[in-house]
Symmetry: C2
Subunit: 191 residues, 2 copies
């Protein structure tokens, strides 16, 4: 949990009292590989902070799965849209490996916002960062080639190739598994 506190320090310094109030609302959870953390149609009432593991964020439409994001250790994971609006999630969140994470419930977080202006401000930093994440994702869909998107993902998580099966990477990149093999071969030659 100290890792999480250090992570928050990048945004804001919480006093011991503020940190105690926050951390005693955190619940440590473990999830086996390939297990749903959030189902399609469920309302998301939590934010989870990943200590260990990997998650995918995907939707299922007419039987076809499409992955829109991966989350790794150090990331916050939530269907933030469902969390904010109270609407059912269109996406599924699933662990890819055995994962450990800390979860805070919306009602607890909102109570903390009311009691501690500094935690409210932390909430602003989290909202701003989730904004940046989704804005980058939108731009990468508009601007970038699959190759560039593959490089960016690899930069964010160097263990990607162990953590994420090839067919999921291809789904995220919006290409066929064969095209991903070609991209990887080109990279091996260059390296």
């Amino acid at each position: 949990m100290e890792g999480l506190r250090k992570h928050f320090e990048k945004f804001i310094h919480l006093t011991d009292k503020e940190w105690d109030a926050f951390s005693c609302k955190l619940q440590r959870k473990q999830l086996a590989a390939r297990t749903y953390l959030l189902e399609q149609g469920e309302v998301c009432t939590f934010v989870a902070f990943i200590e260990k593991g990997a998650f995918r964020f995907f939707y299922n439409r007419d039987g076809e799965e499409r992955i829109t994001a991966f989350f790794f250790a150090g990331d916050a994971v939530s269907n933030y849209r469902s969390f904010l609006t109270g609407l059912p999630s269109e996406h599924i969140i699933e662990s890819l490996q055995e994962s450990v994470f800390w979860i805070i419930q919306k009602k607890d977080l909102y109570e903390l916002f009311n009691a501690y202006p500094n935690i409210d401000r932390l909430g602003r930093f989290i909202a701003e960062n989730l904004y940046l994440t989704v804005a980058r994702r939108l731009d990468s869909f508009l601007f970038d080639s699959p190759e560039k998107r593959y490089d960016d993902l690899l930069r964010r998580n160097s263990r990607l190739l162990q953590d994420v099966p090839q067919f999921m990477l291809a789904s995220y990149l919006g290409i066929k598994p064969e095209s991903l093999s070609r991209i990887r071969k080109r990279k091996t030659k260059k390296a």
Copy 2:
């Protein structure tokens, strides 16, 4: 400016003192039609609240323009990503008509955040809402047909057809102007 205060009341109640502190930092601006509010490569240091008019948000890559958003009266407009990170904007913000808006500078806003926890909280609500806007935009690129995206835009601004030229609408929808004509014809028949 009272319209803006009412708009904020949807998120949070500001006392007269808080509103006075905030509103005395707002500058009223006017911009002629087809004028840049933000250039490509410029760092965005403001948030603007539109009282009257319309703006487009677009990028220019290899000579090709692509529109990613429209903003109308009641919307907040900013390149929020550039605003938060201090990085140069990849996008251009341009007025489509003669427009009136209220602008607040980043340094003033951050001073207000420090002085008034309630205004900091307003900042969180703004960040959360901008998150929802961009998350919806990403989903609409992933999920929706051009026809659905056209309907959604029309629902947000019923004056759309007066406010936005056809070729810009087509660019936003990612289709050719001829395809947009076909969509509109189908709708006229149905109506």
